[in-house]
């Protein structure tokens, strides 16, 4: 009888990761590559007939960066809209989340029932964005409660959804409300990861809580902060559902709340312009890839140099 030299488990590793790679290749990699491919083609629908695909090189990309009839470069305008609305929501989101995270993790305050509060502040994230959108749409609509209160007090009805400022503010507010809980949880995890003895040492040395916050918490939380920030930014780039619902997909008034993904949706779902849509997708892909690279660099420190000697 032959004697087995050793049992190799290596092939099982391959077998077990195979399902993921097969699914990934079919459902992600193939569509991704075909998006790149079609972005070089004229490929769209005219009523019920299909035009193309005809190879047109970089024409789709050139068209994206050509000023349109309003004198703007559409894609840059939509990128600006997306970033502005994200920023308006992200600033309060981070301030709130940071304050809440510090309070909940504070050894001194020892707040009771943090589990309850954590659940409550996370709750908005569980509600569908579209439901949130509908809710705010109803609240601020012409016949909605806000206008009823204004009119009951002798004011004139305000068209919240016809004005750039209010539409953007409402969208930013919804995004803030949905995501601050999530950010709080992440930052809390970050703070709890800081060595507790540092806080103790600081309090023994007589540091004030503001000093502890600015000298210990913030610097040591920086890597996590950066991670949360950049992932939020990537999420923000893909902002779609809230503005889509609030403006019924029009980006009203006159495209000032149109985000990049909404534009993509207009191209793909409405005009069935797959070529131009592909070009927009590729741009979003590139921006996201750059941002992801930043996260990766900040999370994985470059190889530490071997310490030579000692002080």
């Amino acid at each position: 009888m032959k004697k087995r030299k050793s049992i190799s488990y290596a092939k099982w590793g391959v077998v077990f990761v195979l399902p993921f790679f097969i699914v990934f290749a079919i459902c992600q990699l193939y569509p991704l590559l075909s998006t790149f491919y079609y972005s070089f083609f004229e490929y769209r629908r005219v009523q019920l007939t299909t035009v193309g695909p005809n190879f047109i090189g970089f024409d789709n990309y050139i068209e994206l960066f050509t000023p349109d009839l309003t004198g703007n470069i559409g894609i840059l305008k939509y990128f600006g809209n997306t970033m502005l609305m994200w920023f308006l929501g992200a600033v309060p989101q981070f301030i709130f989340a940071l304050i809440l995270a510090v309070i909940f993790t504070s050894e001194r305050m020892k707040i009771k029932g943090t589990g309850f509060f954590k659940t409550v502040i996370y709750m908005p994230n569980l509600i569908m964005a579209s439901a949130f959108g509908m809710l705010f749409y109803t609240i601020f609509s012409l016949g909605g409660p806000v206008n009823q209160i204004i009119q009951a007090n002798g004011g004139e009805a305000i068209y919240f959804f016809n004005q750039e400022v209010s539409v953007k503010a409402i969208i930013a507010f919804i995004n803030f409300l949905m995501w601050y809980g999530n950010t709080t949880i992440l930052l809390m995890a970050g703070i709890m990861g800081i060595d507790q003895s540092l806080f103790e040492a600081a309090s023994i040395d007589g540091a004030k809580s503001t000093q502890v916050f600015f000298r210990i918490t913030i610097p040591l939380l920086m890597p996590i902060m950066l991670y949360v920030f950049v992932t939020a930014l990537i999420g923000g780039l893909q902002m779609y559902d809230v503005p889509q619902i609030i403006t019924s997909g029009t980006g009203a008034p006159s495209n000032t709340s149109m985000t990049m993904i909404m534009y993509l949706n207009t191209l793909i779902a409405k005009s069935r312009n797959f070529g131009l849509g592909g070009a927009v997708s590729v741009l979003i892909f590139i921006i996201t890839a750059i941002l992801s690279f930043v996260v990766f660099k900040s999370m994985v420190p470059s190889k530490p140099k071997k310490a030579k000697g000692g002080k």
């Binding site: 099982w12 077998v15 077990f16 195979l18 399902p19 993921f20 097969i22 699914v23 079919i26 459902c27 569509p31 769209r44 629908r45 005219v46 009523q47 019920l48 007939t49 299909t50 035009v51 349109d68 009839l69 309003t70 004198g71 559409g74 609509s141 012409l142 016949g143 909605g144 009805a157 068209y159 016809n162 004005q163 750039e164 019924s248 997909g249 029009t250 009203a252 008034p253 006159s254 495209n255 534009y263 207009t266 191209l267 779902a269 409405k270 005009s271 069935r272 312009n273 797959f274 131009l276």
Partner: protein, 461 residues
């Protein structure tokens, strides 16, 4: 050994599970890839249905009747007044028409029609005047005379025209005729004009100059002329002398421009609001304490859009009357089109015949639903009937008498397959001009850009 087998089984199960789950999604997303072939393939389907031309019992055909629609209106009438042969299930696929969603989904389904299983094929679909041309001029719809729907003299000519392709083949029928009229609030008219009978009100509102004068008077008394600036849009857009798209170019007709200027003036002077026509800002004015004097609509408007007025407690039913208004026009209408590839041609034909010719069905549609049907004989009968009147909204006024007159002059012209979105979005994009945040040219540029983004094939200057 057992463990190995178990592991192998589990591994295959997880792979299969993942892959089959993925199939569903990829089927949806890859649908776009092979549309051309599907569109070409739809030609064969025509011959299929032509073979089954001889008289057959509808129940012997496909067991599932798929009807596509964009709201529940026709579904309601269908379920109440039409008896489906035993053994056939009716499957309704309803998608909202706002923002073109219905058309998008319908287009996908039509392009996939040839490859769909018999019971999943669209058998009949509904279309509106605004985009019916997109479907009648293609292979996607059947010449209904081949399945047994004869053209009747009682059908209004424009409804037949609308359903015909350029070669004159009729692709469907409408179950409604939609002359649209001015629906005014009697109590407000009395207060503003001193009279509330249709003839006197018509005299006071017979053209747009008079309409504007009355609007100013209404404003003085604290009323609104219309609940939404878009209320008058259909009146103007139906009286255009050129289409939205002429020779492949976007074209803004003088009548549309006239509406734009009127809207601007009306909003600036506080005669109207900028609420959308379907929004509650407009419809809340139909309540008892509502301030709007005028609405425009055909007979479907009562049940479909005036539910607030019909509210038993807060509503204003009975306080309304209709008259021609400043300009005659028509609005909407629902056409039933037979889809190429249907496996229920006899049943589809029977439904179409029922809704244009079956006296029993049409009588119920008139008497119970207040619908102005697509049958001039029946309409004429009710128009002359002194006992007939609309009691749900109009306090017994015989609206058919007016509609019969208006229906004679309806013309289906200057229409394109693009009209729905263009007519829906033009007022929306012009809002920034009305509220003063942009100049007219800037607002127009935004609209034109929208057209360019949505329909790259339309030349926009």
């Amino acid at each position: 050994m057992k463990k190995r087998i178990l592991a192998a089984v589990l591994a295959t199960a997880s792979i299969l599970g993942a892959v089959s789950g993925c199939n569903d999604t990829s089927a949806v997303s890859s649908g776009s890839g092979d549309e051309t072939s599907k569109a070409e393939g739809s030609g064969d389907a025509t011959s299929d249905s032509e073979e089954s031309k001889d008289k057959v019992n509808p129940a012997d055909e496909g067991k599932v009747l798929n009807i596509w629609a964009w709201n529940e209106e026709f579904k309601g009438f269908f379920e109440k007044y039409y008896t489906v042969p035993e053994g056939v299930t009716v499957n309704w696929v309803i998608n909202p028409s706002d923002g073109g969603v219905y058309q998008q989904k319908l287009d996908e389904a039509i392009l996939a029609q040839a490859d769909a299983a018999a019971d999943e094929k669209i058998d009949m679909f509904l279309a509106e005047a605004d985009y019916i041309k997109k479907y009648t001029n293609t292979e996607a719809t059947l010449d209904v005379s081949t399945i047994g729907v004869e053209k009747l003299d009682t059908q209004y000519e424009y409804t037949v025209q609308a359903a015909s392709d350029d070669a004159g083949k009729v692709k469907g029928v409408s179950f409604q005729c939609c002359p649209s009229a001015l629906i005014y609030r009697k109590s407000i008219a009395k207060d503003v004009l001193g009279v509330d009978d249709p003839a006197s009100v018509q005299e006071a509102l017979s053209d747009w100059t008079k309409f504007e004068e009355v609007a100013a008077k209404a404003k003085e008394k604290g009323y609104l002329m219309t609940g939404s600036n878009v209320a008058t849009f259909r009146v103007f857009s139906n009286n255009v002398t050129s289409a939205w798209v002429e020779d492949g170019k976007l074209n803004i007709d003088p009548a549309i421009d006239q509406w734009t200027e009127q809207s601007k003036k009306f909003y600036d002077n506080g005669y109207t609001t900028l609420a959308g026509i379907w929004e509650d800002g407009n419809t809340k004015e139909m309540f008892k304490d509502g301030k709007a004097m005028c609405y425009f609509g055909p007979s479907w408007y009562y049940n479909f859009s005036m539910t607030n007025a019909q509210d038993p407690e807060k509503g204003s039913a009975g306080d309304w009357a209709i008259t021609t208004g400043p300009q005659a026009h028509f609005w909407g209408g629902t056409w039933l089109l037979a889809a190429t590839g249907t496996d229920n041609p006899t049943l589809v034909a029977d439904i179409m015949n029922a809704f244009i010719a079956d006296e029993e069905v049409l009588t119920k549609l008139v008497e119970k639903e207040g619908q102005f049907v697509n049958n001039s004989a029946i309409n004429q009968k009710y128009a002359e009937d002194p006992n007939y009147g609309n009691k749900t909204i109009l306090d017994g006024q015989n609206d058919f008498a007016l509609y019969v007159d208006l229906a004679k002059n309806i013309k289906f012209e200057h229409k394109t397959g693009y009209d729905q979105l263009l007519s829906e979005k033009y007022p929306e994009y012009m809002k920034t001009y009305f509220d003063g945040s942009k100049s007219k040219d800037e607002a127009l540029a935004d609209f034109k850009q929208y057209v360019k983004d949505t329909y790259p094939e339309i030349v926009v200057e």
